[in-house]
């Protein structure tokens, strides 16, 4: 704990100045006319229950949220002014709520920190040194190469902290950094923050927390309730004024009268085992993921109505164990029994008796709170009428009524957890399995939770299996089990465990157990020496020219995206194989070569004339004969069924009329359902009949046909053999290079929005342009590789000659790829959900690329809007380059207008995306 400097709430020395700040989400007011001034160079705690506006306030101070009304001055900069805000962002670090939400799970610890360092434009040598020191200080040094996604929650938070600290900020803003983190990691985390601050006393640290006991560490406190600030003063003063011994009590005394009663304590009647079959029994339960043993021979027995606590560091296998008990995961070995019956994934009746609450929010954000509860009750086979009453009851029990018609997406973490618990309890199950149900829930609501659990256990004999990081909750359990790295370290009543370690508190006992275990497995815990060095690196040199900074940041984004892409083997494979499959399929199967037209003959005549006529068709490779028609109706029916495409009707007395010069009619019926085919059949059939008339009809009077007054010489150029493959291959390359690259980038931005890592952009000094170009670059490279593969495939494997210049084609392809990836990013910025991004990309690319770009139908023949659409879409321009290079031998000079058009598309998509993507949250 750092000593607190004497502080005055003096605006002149304030780091952060807030005046009449109000913020709304739809109808809800998150902040109401807040005015505040916070001192520099100290630690400030922001406390208050869930949903009082803590996160909103921090977001506004950090500049990641747009100010609606009021004023915020951070480090002397007016945050409403873009230029001023950008100016101070390099001095601010913001760590958002949620375990490792702003980390990239496939990147390693070092790569994550390195990414942030690059974003802030730190040079290589400084980066190297700084990362090394931060890793040592946080005890992460042994695992620099472990992917962030595989870290425990506590370690994730440490990495997040490293990321925030890497650029040596003057203001460090942490939004509930220790929520969901185990006590040992929490202790280590705060020690770390303290030492870092000790090394750099000028740094201001602003932290929001739901743990009141943590709040006591801060020298200044801001207590909030219901969008308003209750008090903002030095901690010591607050305790003195209120006359309370702890921050928690002080906070409650500051609340308005009617709210105080809510936070009263509760008592637990002793547990009595009713005997009989244990409710839950696990024997040698083991689960492996690949080579990683997540749960290693875990055994325990839980009696009916018992509250069994599960404690352990994050990622120690608690959740996996719970999932095996619910049947969500199969055990690799060992057994789990519920009420004496082995857990089976297919046992629906067993599921009726279990209520489960997963660690992350897993109800529907598209439904309101009430709708979610009704759905849950109904799925538990509660009749509709009763479901209504139960839901009403639950809304009261869990104090959810004010939020009944809200969407969970708009609710703070704590209230969402309450909703999840309400949902798990709605069926009054026999067993409740709760995975960290109170993470991120404020103390008053936690008390309410536990009163509820105790009531369920003692009065309704519900067996409760709960994991938690709160020691006061663990102390409420009848028995607890300590777990670490997949193994159970100890099981017993809280009092027993504390006594065994000779400690005074359960927390101390728990930390003891973990320390022992870590000392056994990790020989190098962080040392004080390395910690104190952390901030001793000298400030990096002032940043170089604007262009260099721009390039460095763009490269930071591109580099990160590339690493993520390279680690996603499946995506790489799909991106490369997709176009190849497309090319092979379309080149070998799309054909305009009309042949094998199936036809049937109805010969009423049966003379040598009619037979000769039929022979012309039989001898032609364009036609395939099927069984002769038996009647006119048969003919019509076969045409209708589609078994023949043409009918040939030779009338009675055809031969006689022919000989008599009476010009009999030959009837040809053509199925015109496919217009292309219909027109061709007519042309081919007429041709065949003309051929018969002029030459094949041996018995016809000869020499009657006059000599043609002109000769017409058609010359088929570019594709003399008239083979579809030559025309389709360049077209398919055009198609593949719009469909796949667009899809590659279409999820880029919207996915980061859904996951939450976009906040890194908001909080960093990097610009939207740098972000977008950085995101585009790796995909341009990937698509270019894919393009090269397609060209090699076309020329070498399929034998389609490339008549023109390869370089001219490649230049066009690269410009085209810039345009298509840019189009994907534009879609990504525009849509709200990943689903819409995928569908939008599919429809918006496929329709114009196939129909209006010259793949099947030449652009010059299009009419009206379609022609405009074709011209306003890059695919039609690249089609000219692709077709021109492959079949026509056109070179650079012939493509200049197309290059210009493609470059213009690429640029305008990026500019539009840049304009549409805001650098702040609403």
């Amino acid at each position: 704990m750092s000593p607190s400097a004497p502080l005055l709430a003096n605006a002149d020395h304030a780091d952060i100045l807030i005046q009449s700040l109000t913020h709304r989400y739809g109808q809800t007011e998150a902040l109401r006319d807040v005015s505040l001034s916070l001192p520099a160079g100290t630690t400030i705690g922001l406390v208050g229950p869930d949903g009082v506006g803590k996160s909103t306030l921090l977001g506004l101070i950090a500049g990641v949220r747009r100010i609606q009304s009021g004023m915020v001055t951070t480090l002397g900069a007016d945050m409403r002014n873009t230029r001023q805000r950008e100016g101070i962002l390099p001095q601010v670090a913001f760590m958002p709520q949620g375990l490792g939400h702003n980390l990239y799970p496939t990147l390693s610890v070092r790569e994550n920190i390195d990414f942030f360092a690059r974003l802030f434009g730190l040079d290589a040598a400084y980066r190297e040194a700084r990362i090394k020191q931060l890793l040592e200080a946080t005890g992460l040094a042994p695992f620099p190469d472990r992917p962030a996604g595989k870290l425990s929650g506590g370690m994730k938070q440490k990495v997040s902290l490293c990321c925030a600290l890497v650029h040596d900020p003057d203001l460090l803003i942490l939004d509930e950094p220790t929520t969901g983190v185990d006590p040992l990691s929490r202790q280590q985390f705060w020690t770390l923050v303290d030492t870092l601050r000790a090394a750099r006393p000028s740094m201001t640290v602003l932290v929001s927390t739901a743990y009141m006991e943590e709040a006591a560490r801060f020298s200044w406190l801001v207590a909030m309730d219901d969008g308003k600030v209750l008090v903002s003063a030095p901690t010591a003063d607050i305790l003195k004024q209120t006359g309370q011994s702890t921050v928690e009590k002080a906070y409650i005394s500051l609340l308005p009268e009617e709210k105080r009663s809510r936070a009263s304590g509760f008592s637990i009647p002793p547990y009595q085992d009713p005997g009989g079959e244990p409710a839950i029994e696990a024997t040698g339960l083991t689960r492996q993921f690949g080579s990683f043993v997540a749960v290693d021979h875990v055994s325990f027995r839980i009696g009916r109505g018992e509250i069994f606590g599960f404690l352990g560091s994050n990622g120690c296998g608690k959740s996996t164990t719970m999932k095996m008990l619910t049947g969500l995961l199969d055990a690799t070995s060992g057994t789990a029994k519920l009420f004496g019956k082995p857990v089976s994934a297919n046992d629906i009746n067993a599921r009726m008796r279990i209520g489960y609450m997963s660690q992350s929010f897993s109800l529907y954000e598209e439904l309101t709170v009430r709708q979610n509860l009704v759905l849950q009750a109904r799925l538990y086979r509660v009749p509709a009428a009763e479901a209504e009453t139960r839901v009403e009851q639950a809304l009261d029990d869990f104090e959810l009524r004010p939020f009944a018609s809200a969407s969970p997406a708009d609710l703070p973490l704590g209230i969402r957890q309450r909703l999840q618990l309400a949902a798990a309890c709605i069926n009054t199950p026999d067993i409740l399995i709760l995975d960290e149900p109170t993470s991120g829930v404020d103390p008053a609501a936690r008390d309410m939770f536990w009163r509820h659990l105790i009531d369920l256990s003692r009065n309704k004999h519900v067996t409760i299996f709960v994991s938690t990081h709160f020691m006061n909750e663990a102390a409420c359990c009848d028995r607890i089990s300590l777990m670490h790295r997949g193994r159970v370290l100890a099981v017993g009543t809280p009092a027993d465990l504390t006594r065994k370690r000779g400690e005074t508190s359960l927390e101390a006992a728990f930390i003891d157990y973990l320390r022992d275990e870590e000392a056994r497995t990790d020989p190098q815990p962080p040392t004080a020496a390395s910690t104190s060095q952390a901030a001793s690196v000298t400030q990096h040199a002032a940043s170089s020219s604007k262009l260099v900074t721009w390039l460095a940041r763009t490269w930071a984004f591109a580099r990160r995206e590339t690493i993520e892409l390279l680690r996603d083997r499946l995506r790489l494979a799909f991106a490369i194989m997709g176009p190849v499959v497309l090319l092979l399929v379309s080149a070998y199967s799309i054909s305009f070569d009309v042949n094998k037209i199936s036809y049937t003959v109805r010969d009423h005549d049966h003379t040598h004339h009619s037979r000769e006529l039929i022979e012309v068709f039989q001898g032609s490779s364009y036609f395939t004969e099927t069984a002769p028609a038996t009647s006119d109706a048969d003919m019509a029916q076969r045409l209708q069924k589609g078994t023949v495409q043409m009918t040939l009707d030779i009338p009675p007395d055809f031969g006689r009329d022919l000989d008599a010069g009476r010009h009999p009619s030959v009837g040809i019926g053509i199925s015109g359902a496919m217009p292309f085919l219909g027109a061709n059949i007519r042309a081919y059939a007429t041709g065949a009949l003309l051929q018969y008339a002029s030459s094949a009809g041996k018995s016809l009077p000869r020499g009657m046909l006059p000599a043609s007054p002109i000769s017409i010489e058609p010359r088929f150029v570019y594709n003399q053999e008239f083979r579809s493959i030559y025309a389709m291959t360049p077209g398919t390359i055009m198609l593949a290079l719009i469909l796949i690259p667009t899809m590659l980038t279409a999820l880029g931005v919207v996915r980061e929005k859904e996951i939450g890592s976009i906040v890194n952009l908001y909080a960093s000094p990097a610009s939207v342009g740098e972000y977008l170009i950085g995101k585009q670059t790796p995909y341009v490279a990937l698509a270019t590789l894919s393009y090269l593969a397609l060209v090699v495939l076309s020329v070498v494997v399929m034998g389609v000659p490339l008549k023109g210049s390869f370089l001219a084609l490649s230049l066009g392809a690269i410009l085209y790829i810039f345009a298509s990836t840019g189009f994907g990013l534009l879609i990504s910025v525009f849509v709200q959900s990943q689903v819409a991004a995928i569908f939008g990309t599919a429809i918006l690319c496929l329709i114009p690329a196939v129909n209006f770009s010259g793949l099947l139908y030449p652009v010059s023949t299009l009419t009206g809007i379609s022609y405009q659409v074709g011209k306003l879409f890059p695919a039609s321009w690249f089609q000219l380059i692709s077709l021109g290079s492959f079949t026509k031998g056109v070179g650079f000079s012939g493509f200049l207008p197309m290059y210009a058009a493609l470059a213009a598309f690429a640029a305008s998509y990026m500019v539009l995306a840049r304009l549409l993507l805001r650098k702040q949250e609403r």
């Binding site: 996996t320 929010f361 305009f592 217009p675 292309f676 360049p730 009419t863």
Partner: protein
């Protein structure tokens, strides 16, 4: 069984709510089934139409002018008069499909009976236009020359007459064909993406896992998605067929609409089941997006909506017999254009249903393992 149905009903209600939430998605669906269909129907011509012709006239005679004037819409765009160089680069740029070269003293040679040669250069990469367009041009020029020389027409010398009749689409217009085929393509893309992506989203948000702890089975989850999204697409497709294709474009739909509606429902089952199956193969949304692209693009190219299945190599023709999309295109054409009845489409119908059952079975088999793989 009763529980099974109740659960599906409940989950369907939830699906409808979440579908209606995404405004951009709804707008995209409406766009695809209205503007998308109209643009394709009105703009694209699969037969020879609006073909571009350029004349290089070395003769400048009455006859050469007549030849030029005879090249008329709707088959051809009004021809351009150009120079050999411009014709060359025009063909290179795709501006001209046909270049007609009239030699010097063409008219004089014709009248003198010297049968001069008229050269037509054809861009053979414009596959839909080149072959047929050449024969149309030949016919036009022959007629003009014959009229000019007062020679009797070739057909007068034919010993017999040809009475050809094109059924179902007598004027060989493109829009009746293209509009319905675009609806079919929209159905395919939507079914695969909407259902597949909905499942992946639920998995990424952990909600499927939550459902599987409740007394809810994988088949209920999958079927609720299939039914809801299938019905939404069905309604959109049928409205589009009626309002856009029939009312707006005035396409005569020959066959039984109820029969077509039933077939569409079966096809929707098959395509949405394919979406579920793909979702169990690709674990994340970006992977799913990339996997879906070649699937729907290949399904479209091989469906017969782009080019006739009859033109494809025999091997491919045999393979696409098992593709539900191809079978659906086949039966759509049979019902809507040729007015065929159930007996004519029973085999494609069976193929579609069988494919749907296989997709769904594979999807359900992989359903639980897909949850395991992510943790």
């Amino acid at each position: 069984m009763k529980n099974w149905l109740t659960n599906i009903g409940l989950l369907c209600g939830k699906e409808i709510r979440s579908l209606l939430q995404d405004r951009v998605l709804i707008a995209l669906i409406v766009f695809a089934f209205t503007a998308g269909v109209l643009a394709v129907a009105n703009g694209v011509k699969v037969e020879v139409s609006n073909a571009t012709v350029a004349f290089i006239d070395h003769d400048h005679s009455t006859l050469s002018l007549k030849l030029r004037d005879a090249v008329l819409p709707p088959y051809f765009k009004p021809p351009a008069l150009t120079t050999p160089e411009a014709a060359e680069s025009g063909m290179d740029k795709g501006d001209f499909i046909f270049v007609v070269d009239i030699p010097p003293s063409f008219e004089r040679d014709v009248l003198a009976g010297r049968s001069p040669a008229l050269q037509i250069r054809v861009d053979a990469t414009a596959m839909t236009q080149a072959g047929l367009g050449t024969s149309y041009l030949t016919q036009i020029f022959m007629n003009e020359v014959q009229a000019a020389t007062h020679a009797p027409a070739l057909t007068d010398f034919m010993p017999f007459q040809i009475k050809s009749r094109v059924y179902y689409n007598p004027n060989s217009e493109s829009f009746p064909f293209m509009s319905v085929m675009q609806i079919v393509t929209n159905i395919t893309i939507l079914s695969i993406i909407l259902v597949g992506a909905a499942i992946i989203r639920e998995r990424e948000h952990g909600t499927i896992e939550h459902l599987l702890v409740l007394p809810v089975t994988a088949s209920e989850i999958a079927l609720a998605k299939i039914i809801t999204n299938g019905l939404a697409i069905f309604i959109a497709a049928m409205l589009s067929l009626w309002l856009v294709v029939h009312v707006w474009l005035g396409v005569h739909l020959a066959g039984s609409i109820p029969l077509f509606a039933c077939c569409t429902l079966l096809y929707l089952f098959s395509a949405t089941a394919l979406g579920v199956m793909l979702a169990t193969v690709a674990p994340t949304m970006p992977q799913f997006g990339l996997l879906a692209v070649p699937v729907y693009a290949v399904a479209y190219l091989l469906s017969g909506a782009a080019t006739p299945v009859e033109n494809m190599p025999t091997l491919i023709q045999n393979i696409v017999r098992f593709f539900p999309t191809t079978q659906f295109v086949t039966l759509s054409q049979a019902i809507l254009y040729r007015g065929a009845g159930l007996d004519a489409i029973i085999i494609p119908l069976l193929a579609i249903t069988a494919a749907g059952i296989v997709f769904l079975a594979l999807a359900l088999m992989r359903f639980r393992s897909m949850l395991t793989s992510q943790s």
